[in-house]
Symmetry: C3
Subunit: 169 residues, 3 copies
């Protein structure tokens, strides 16, 4: 179901730092950024790899992890080879698992927003992805991209959470 | 298959601290807590959001991540809009993927415990969820809850692992 | 699709340390190791639990997390009870979701490598698993193993990324 999400306080946009104070040698950094993405829903997929890598570089993170998280219950974060064919094949498989048509959902019986299938797909694939960072780069394969997939049944704007934890050297 | 899990040592219940010693400014904390949950199995879903947020608050964590983990191979941790309809719709989709009836499992041929479908569902959805923490709160959407789902075919009690990593300021 | 992945620099094999300098009390460690695994593909499953636990022990990590990551878009990391029956049952369920035969994939229309189903399965199950570490051990259940599953349609060698974050005491 979709209800209006109250806008966060202005301070929750942009970089947040919870890092310990400067010290000798590599520093631990824990940083939260928000990455806006907009889609038409219905399984539209967005490649966010370049933006996530840019955030890592901007903060000089060398070793650690990045967690990419979808704040919302009808979207997923995973990896895929981002190319036009799979942008159709992956949603097609989810259509077999949780059909958007011809399948009754108790969710829709109650809320009448017609996105029961979106919720089921989102919970199956999951909202969170953690990728290691080594020597300043995510340890992705050459043909592996980080994607956000919006399973909802209408256009949506989301602020993905990009959480960095690691050291600068 | 379910065999009896030996009870952990008493010291493995409650809070564990592996934190560095006090220092000036924000401190890194790494903490492990165990959250007991009981279900009737068969896809029963438990909303643990409030308990996880309470653990974060208790330790004063401001920035970092929390990992919620199911120690066991027939349960999953994910997010969903926790409402009665989806509590039926999500297991119904998993019934299509890994039917509990009318489907033969090699696991059951060997172990005769009838929960081959439970294992398959658990491995598909996954046992682990990592959620960013910013300004003391998990970055969940308004209608997004953290849930444990027990796919096993009988009542079970589990001790979910709640792992905090982050700083207090 | 599979294209050749350029070999990483020699320095990217073995242990990487991004740890802060020595200090009193427990130390934060962030370490990256690479674990080579080879399979015949087609859903072959490899239990890497013992190797991951050995890496944790070698570095003396007591509290924290380990992230096991597949750098590639046709493999997955999850947990399962590693026994012969489920090694067949889990791929069989993925065959229902994303059939290797009798199902058309747009990916294969373009790239003609016949592994569209592999990509879909990998994105569904996911490439990343984060497991808490407490008192030097992963908090796995007794019958729960960490597995890499190669969904590709030919033999592959991968270097799984094992990322440790935590303290030594």
């Amino acid at each position: 179901m979709n209800r209006m999400r109250p806008p966060g306080p202005p301070g929750q946009r942009g970089m947040k730092s919870g890092s310990p104070p400067p010290q000798e040698g590599p520093q631990l950094k824990i940083l939260t950024e928000f990455l806006p993405v907009g889609t038409q829903g219905h399984g539209e997929m967005v490649d966010v790899t370049t933006q996530v890598q840019s955030i890592i570089k901007k903060h000089g993170l060398k070793f650690g992890t990045v967690t990419v998280f979808c704040p919302g219950s009808t979207g997923s974060v995973t990896t895929i080879e981002y190319e036009p064919g799979l942008k159709e094949d992956f949603p097609a498989a989810m259509e077999r698992l949780a059909p958007s048509k011809g399948q009754r959902y108790k969710h829709d019986d109650t809320w009448h927003d017609g996105n029961g299938h979106s919720h089921v797909r989102a919970s199956t694939v999951g909202p969170s992805l953690t990728v290691p960072i080594a020597e300043g780069k995510m340890t992705l394969g050459t043909w592996q991209q980080i994607v956000f997939v919006d399973w909802d049944n209408k256009p949506r704007r989301r602020d993905l959470v990009i959480q960095l934890m690691g050291t600068t050297g």
